[in-house]
Symmetry: C2
Subunit: 596 residues, 2 copies
């Protein structure tokens, strides 16, 4: 039994200054976690209890698909990560250190390399496969912007599982098994989820899906269509329109467009000075060229120009996903000074990528230029003429300019068509709680994991990796289960099932409360008992609401009439229950909640 | 049920090349752990199961003394450790790193600072105390010489508990409570232990005791006396003899002692050339002066000379403990060149410490000089005359020379008197499995942890810290429970209770084995079932002996007569048990072992 008189807990009336989201605010205020450093948290007793329950659900569902638990170190040598290229690819996102002998180590953000090497060490035959291993372990990422408490931390708890198969069909089956386990885990946890197509980022691999829990404070944006298409916005592909026949299109012509450095001013000027007969010009008729800088993991930096319809912004996360592992940075004045051909507000294709003049070796002198997939051959654009105050009209893609390629960097908007033709997209936000990857042979090839097949031939193993952010799941649960007064835990993850509050100063009340608490424990119910003697009922009730234990039992004034009050934290009418047999009634309520 | 056909396990017939001790060798060979880097190990499924059982015992006994579980990060900012001086004191023994903003972090070797700050954050009154908190957590030390597998690792699992009290009596009570919990933990684990007085090292504090489990391969040496004195050899103090009246002692005289750079040659020469009337000269009549270098945590280095009776060696660990946090290094030729007064083999007190000439400021020019406590005033010595081939005889301590102080650096020998007069010491070796510290106010003072006492006055809290090397305990259990063929786990920490082996190729045997295994599971017995079909009985038995599950059930030839064979891994006669009812008999055997 947890007793409030001795429990290591202080609830806070004030929100922590750095807390922007409810889960962060409430988990700190209710004494579940405490910040130790940016993005690094300490688990207090109540938080640790909830964490253990989440972990238990994960363990049970992993066991149910025959995944075996192991545990790797967090401190790992550089070499395996160098073999796969990730030592460099992770750039500044991992913590690196040297030991006393000057050997390089890292704090692992994920363990693909180590699992691959372990299986290589122990197994050698197709008969040993399929194999699924997992761990629940502390992971590290040197996030540029740790935020939202446990949601984006630098030290966090992950369940990472890995599958090993001899062929593609095996991987597909392993992937589906993990996917099913994830569905059961989140269902059991009572956490709403959407499975969306995702990009694979630094992980690599052929296919990946994210499990997102929808919430307005989510860092991820995802789309869904009436026909069932779902994807992280980063993974959405733009349906490419048909090319247009170049024959008969008007010639490009440069016009004076003074003081039109923005799309808005340009469209207004075009409509005023060069009106169209059929309809007004809109931003969608303009081709906007956005300059950014890419920093490669090895530290090198280059400029990039993204050309896209002027009615759309560049979505930084989509661009980052498209250019990963490079990071996107703002192009500085310094950057632009080195490129005098870039005239701010009037940049056009003529000086970019393959359209730019060639140097003595026949190589383009232009900044690398990537186009939105909508800019297909035959489309006509108003765009910069590379001279202040001038734009070019009727500049035709595929006739007047080309690019170094296309890029999925434009924002996705509600109403955009789904790439699979399943209707208009709707946008929502969510927290990524799981991510599953069909890795394929990337890691096995880099580290030489082969087994002998049925014919005695060495074949490279194909792998999957499957992560759940365990500490983040706890935050997502708090985010999905709270109100203004505090947390409202689902019974199966709550730090206790019943919160017994004794009110007043009457010794008989405390005796009765103690007795009920003890009886509940005897029935296997987890009890938090507020046995504090000199604390007012108001403070006790406020604490109870903040802590969020699902069933509140108030032992107080009603005792004179032989009753105690039973309330559900989630709401509904309080019940007055006879003291005699109260524990039986309450235990039944708890059982009902645990089954629900 | 664990099935050998799918369990992620490969037993090894060969010892790992780097394994010197049985626990290391067998835990690797039996597939419990696997090396990831020097002193850094991965837990495989069987190892993780044993670890969980050890942790469970620790958790139960911590709960029994009302210690509350929390969990701190491993990655911590420098500042708290700087406030207590330990950022520097740990020298090269901790892993340090910088984050992307160039802030300093460490991988914590122990968490006194963080617990102190947490309690300061949450608590403010004497009414909140006493308080005991603990965690089971991954810790890091950049050991110079990681060795013996889990026994001295660089990433390891610790249970670290901390007590907080308002006064000394409270600390004493908290310390005793933890001490009792440790006794119960090691008793339940079946691990023999000795509690010995210890030095506090970098931890600080007034009193500390170690729990050692006796074993010849232990890194620690401890002493015990017939009267009950026990201490780590580092903590043994030398009984100081009575001083001798200086009056009437003969004057010192320098003698030619050619070719006597060692104690042995010196004693032989003295007996040959200057024989004593009463008895021969021995090493104990000589004063040996040993030059070492000390490296302070801040990197500075200085020479030190230890003067001790010539029949004793300097014990490096005792010296290290005495000069901590400085580390002891060998004095190099370079060092000696800078000190021309040091004549190798003929060094004597005259040029050392306070005996050396003064410089212009009146400060001694001599190397710092510390004496063994036996060198009391009035004792007469043969020692170096600081000229090659010459020694001085009848050099009297307190008359002819002094020193900068005394030091406990001489080896302790069997038969030496216990400091408390409880008789002659005997020496033994052990592995440190626990260490408890009455820290006092060191950390609370450095970090400002105060509470208001009953009179409303702010008083500094007094603390204790209490560690158990959980992963090391597992290794110690393996060390104490093995034979030539493999591990012999006590039932309550074994990865399974019963190892069922089906032998032969008869389908009926596998059916019967499967049935028994299932029935045992139904009775709550943990089963490891060797269901491998094409593996020979010899390999299966060898694996069973290596893995060390306490009860082996062989289903094979006996089945024709309706029996299975039940053997205990620890030895004794095999029993032939009727197949019908076998699971009941076996479950009873297991229950008996678990109770034992």
């Amino acid at each position: 039994m947890l007793r409030m008189s001795s429990l290591f807990l202080r609830t806070l009336r004030e929100d922590p200054v750095d807390a922007e989201v409810a889960s962060h605010r409430l988990l700190v205020r209710a004494g579940y976690i405490r910040r130790a450093a940016p993005g690094i948290y300490t688990w207090l007793p109540l938080g640790l209890r909830v964490l253990a329950k989440v972990e238990q659900v994960v363990r049970e569902e992993m066991a149910a698909i025959d995944a075996q638990e192991v545990h790797f170190p967090a401190l790992l040598p550089k070499e395996p990560y160098e073999a796969t290229g990730r030592w460099t690819e992770y750039g500044p996102n991992i913590f690196r250190l040297k030991d006393r002998r000057e050997n390089d180590y890292l704090l692992a953000p994920t363990h693909e390399e180590m699992f691959t090497l372990l299986v290589k060490d122990l197994y050698s035959s197709y008969k040993d496969l399929p194999l699924a291993l997992y761990q629940i372990q502390t992971k590290y990422r040197d996030e540029a912007r740790p935020r939202a408490g446990l949601i984006r931390g630098r030290e966090f708890i992950m369940k990472d599982a890995y599958s090993f198969d001899v062929d593609d069909a095996g991987l597909e089956a392993s992937y589906e098994r993990q996917r099913g386990a994830y569905q059961r885990i989140f269902t059991r946890l009572g956490l709403e989820y959407v499975i969306v197509a995702a990009t694979s980022g630094a992980m690599g691999g052929s296919r990946s899906e994210e499990f997102l829990t929808p919430t307005a404070i989510g860092e991820d944006t995802f789309v869904r269509s009436p026909g069932g298409y779902t994807a992280n916005v980063e993974a959405v592909t733009t349906p490419v329109p048909e090319s247009i026949d170049l024959d008969g299109l008007p010639a490009a012509h440069v016009e004076d467009t003074p003081d039109t450095p923005t799309i808005e001013t340009l469209v207004a000027h075009a409509n005023a000075t060069f009106p169209r007969a059929d309809r007004p010009w809109t931003g969608a008729d303009t081709l906007k060229n956005v300059v950014v800088a890419l920093r490669q993991p090895d530290g090198t930096r280059e400029l990039l120009v993204v050309g896209l319809p002027g009615d759309r912004e560049v979505d930084a996360k989509r661009l980052e996903a498209a250019v990963a592992p490079a990071e996107v940075e703002v192009a500085t004045d310094e950057d632009l000074k080195a490129r005098p051909e870039i005239v701010k507000g009037y940049l056009g294709p003529a000086v970019l990528g393959p359209n730019a003049p060639l140097d003595a070796d026949g190589v383009s002198t232009g900044v690398r230029y990537l186009l939105d997939p909508r800019v297909v051959p035959g489309t006509r654009w108003i765009t910069g003429a590379n001279v202040a105050g001038k734009h070019v009209f009727d500049l035709v893609a595929g006739r007047d300019f080309t690019a170094d390629g296309t890029v999925e960097a434009a924002e996705v908007r509600a109403g955009d068509p789904a790439p699979d033709g399943s209707g208009p997209l709707e946008l929502a936000r969510g927290i990524e709680i799981g991510h599953i990857f069909a890795l394929g042979r990337k890691y096995a090839e880099a580290l030489g994991l082969k087994v002998l097949d049925q014919n005695g031939k060495a074949v490279t193993v194909t792998m999957g990796s499957y992560g759940i952010g365990v500490s983040r799941v706890l935050a997502a649960l708090a985010e999905a289960n709270h109100d203004n007064a505090g947390l409202v835990w689902p019974a199966h993850v709550a730090p206790a099932h019943v919160h017994v509050v004794a009110t007043g100063k009457d010794a008989a009340v405390f005796e009765a409360a103690e007795k009920i608490a003890g009886e509940l424990e005897g029935r296997g119910v987890e009890v938090l008992y507020d046995d504090r003697f000199k604390v007012s009922p108001g403070v006790k009730f406020a604490d109870a609401e903040l802590l969020g234990v699902p069933v509140l039992v108030v032992v107080g004034r009603g005792l004179a009439e032989g009753t105690v009050e039973v309330r559900r934290r989630a709401g509904g009418e309080p019940q007055h229950v006879a003291v005699d047999g109260a524990s039986e009634t309450i235990a039944a309520t708890v059982a009902e909640l645990l089954e629900g």
